[in-house]
């Protein structure tokens, strides 16, 4: 695994998982990010914490698109917080912000994510997810 990133997956409230991203989002860190995401398969909403993001490039944006495609397939929603103004700008330019909802803080993100409707694709799995 690339040492330019540390990923941590944790469950927040019922059905909401948080991935703390500490480092880069680039093609070099693809395995780490997708591994962390794979651990969220029981969640119905995934929150990306970009508070410790140091560098993201166009390859990293492509990676987020890949993750979005998978999330949609699993009926999961994606949220994010902690983006710097610069990367928030890039999310808007690329229109990633239309499918990854951006929030100002972790509580905001989790509060909204917890109320996301359960999507049909993976509804039973999401209900079976034990609370924290």
């Amino acid at each position: 695994m690339d040492d330019s990133i540390r990923m941590n997956m944790r469950s927040a409230v019922d059905g909401v998982a948080v991935i703390d991203i500490d480092g880069d989002v680039t093609p070099a860190t693809e395995d780490a990010l997708l591994e962390a995401y794979a651990k969220c398969d029981q969640a119905r909403a995934v929150v990306l914490n970009f508070g410790r993001l140091s560098y993201m490039n166009s390859g990293g944006i492509g990676l987020l698109v890949t993750m979005l495609v998978r999330a949609q397939r699993h009926g999961q929603t994606l949220h994010a917080y902690g983006l710097s103004d610069h990367y928030r700008h890039i999310f808007e330019l690329t229109r990633l912000d239309e499918t990854i909802r951006l929030h100002d803080s972790e509580p905001d993100a989790i509060a909204v994510a917890a109320h996301d409707p359960v999507a049909a694709a993976d509804a039973t799995a999401a209900r079976r997810l034990p609370g924290r």
């Binding site: 680039t26 698109v65 610069h86 700008h89 890039i90 330019l93 690329t94 499918t99």
Partner: protein, 532 residues
């Protein structure tokens, strides 16, 4: 084998009314229609006649053939093919015998003998006539060429102006069939020089005449009209009146201020002027329709300033549109690249002609006139037009090395006041451009370097990033998030999109062995604080 259709005209049946021929001998009917019958080149009768090996009775022909129908309609009964060296060169057509009896085998034998002797004689006569016609045509073309060349060269300036502080050079080489290129210099009041280059879209005498007329109209117009855009508008309206249909003139007219080096020009569909600067070449754009197409046109004006040591190049199509043996085109990127790295002044012309020769090889058939005009401002160039080079370095082409480039660019501009949001955007643009150079241009080959130069200008930063990739830069479809989510586009492909949105200007140039991306970031803007 080029066969003229004319040769397939069946040999003409002659009206024969004399009784000189014995009734027992075959004779041509008096009723026979004497007009020649044209046979189409794909008519099956041609092969049939050619290989018949003797007279053909049209009554025995069973296949469908327009020629046979025509021959029958003309009253022909028997056809005697004239074959020379295996080629069908004509037919002797005969109507029914006057005695109204069938042709006998003796008749046929006689006719066959006659054809055997007539065919070579006819062939020789045909060859002689063809050669005469060709010689006449050659002479006509040569004569026209002489006239066209005469007109052309009479109207090209015999001497070049020699203004103080400037070198003026011109090169003109006509194609085998003279094209309609022209150039001219007009001395104007107040230390200004009018410069004209043009090209008539035709060849030979008509083009030369239109060229001469256009030049005369323009020379008259500049006596009363000052602005190049107005000059071309007037000339266009005049040329409109006389120009033959489907002929028009591309033309660039500019006024050079010999004191300041300012060149203001307008362009009627001609090639854009190119300026060789100290560190590269630029093209200057001005739009306008060719002269003689539509009346009442407006001609945009543009200007460029020539600093000491810089050269302005005006040129006609033949150079950029030259093709080599592989049918590749010389092209504008190569031209711009050569002007960029070539010498300045009159030797730029030699440099371009040498490069053209190395591109086309020795056996090039020059398709069009070549015209090159160079205006060079003498003197040493000032230091980069107020541009200072802050750094120049290379990074190896390995994934992730874009961050080395970013760090070095940031270090190089540490002393420049740039709003933090702008700095962030520049970082991303440099990273993306370097990544493209590493991955696409240099194909991750660690032997190849990405070259990075950083310049400061009075109000902007310029970062130039070059790789060793050849050919055009792949400009894939604009990335679209929805298409990507639907799987219609790959998830990646955001690089160039990001670059364009990060900086104030992006210039991409590509030639056979190099891509260069120039990122321009203004030091200030209305979006300094808010990054969006």
């Amino acid at each position: 084998m080029t066969r003229r259709l004319e040769r397939w005209r069946a040999a003409r049946a002659r009206r024969q009314t004399t009784a000189a021929l014995d009734d027992e001998q075959p004779a041509v009917s008096a009723e026979l229609d004497a007009s020649p019958v044209d046979i189409a080149a794909d008519d099956p009768a041609l092969a049939h006649f050619q290989y018949a090996g003797g007279p053909v009775d049209l009554d025995t022909v069973s296949f469908d053939s327009a020629a046979v129908r025509d021959l029958r309609a003309a009253g022909v009964k028997l056809v005697v093919p004239l074959v020379a060296q295996g080629e069908l060169i004509g037919l002797i057509n005969l109507g029914p015998r006057l005695s109204e009896q069938e042709y006998t085998s003796d008749d046929r034998k006689l006719l066959e003998n006659l054809a055997g002797q007539a065919a070579p004689a006819l062939r020789i006569a045909q060859l002689v006539r063809e050669q005469e016609a060709e010689a006449t045509e050659r002479e006509r073309i040569a004569q026209e060429l002489r006239v066209a060349t005469l007109i052309q060269q009479n109207f090209l300036p015999r001497t070049l102006p020699d203004p103080a502080g400037w070198d003026v050079a011109a090169f003109y080489r006509p194609a085998r069939e003279v094209g309609g290129d022209f150039y001219d210099f007009i001395e104007l009041p107040d230390g200004r020089l009018g410069v004209l280059t043009g090209d008539v879209t035709d060849k030979g005498v008509p083009a030369a005449l239109v060229m001469a007329a256009t030049r005369a109209i323009l020379r008259a117009t500049v006596q009363n009209v000052d602005k190049p855009g107005d000059v071309l508008a007037r000339v266009n309206d005049q040329v409109q009146l006389d120009i033959p249909a489907r002929m028009f003139v591309t033309c660039l007219y500019g006024v050079l201020d010999l004191e300041t080096g300012r060149f203001v020009f307008a362009n009627a569909g001609h090639n854009l002027p190119c300026v060789g600067r100290r560190d590269g070449a630029i093209e200057v754009r001005a739009a306008g329709m060719p002269l003689g197409m539509l009346p009442g046109q407006d001609y945009q004006e543009a200007e460029v300033s020539l600093e000491p040591g810089e050269s302005l190049l005006l040129y006609s199509d033949a150079l950029p549109e030259a093709h080599n043996e592989r049918r590749e085109m010389y092209g504008f990127p190569r031209l711009l690249g050569q002007v960029g790295k070539g010498p300045r002044g009159a030797t730029l012309i030699d440099h371009l002609l040498d490069d053209l020769h190395s591109f086309t090889g020795d056996d090039w058939d020059q398709e069009d006139d070549i015209t090159l005009v160079v205006l060079h401002r003498r003197g040493a160039a000032p230091a980069n037009h107020g541009r200072t080079r802050l750094a120049e370095f290379t990074v190896r082409s390995a994934p992730g090395n874009e961050r080395l480039a970013v760090d070095r660019v940031v270090a190089a501009i540490a002393g420049i006041a740039l709003a933090p949001a702008r700095l962030e955007r520049l970082r991303t643009a440099v990273a993306e451009a370097t990544m493209n150079a590493i991955e696409h241009g240099n194909e991750n080959n660690p032997e190849l370097q990405v070259e990075v130069e950083v310049f400061a200008e009075p109000s902007a930063l310029l970062v130039r990033i070059s790789d060793h990739g050849g050919g055009p830069i792949d400009a894939t479809a604009e990335p679209d998030i929805e298409a990507k989510l639907r799987g219609e586009q790959t998830p990646r492909g955001w690089g160039l999109f990001l670059i364009r949105n990060m900086v104030d200007d992006v210039f991409v140039t590509a030639d056979d062995d190099r891509h260069t991306v120039e990122l321009v970031m203004a030091l200030e803007g209305d979006d300094d604080d808010v990054p969006r």
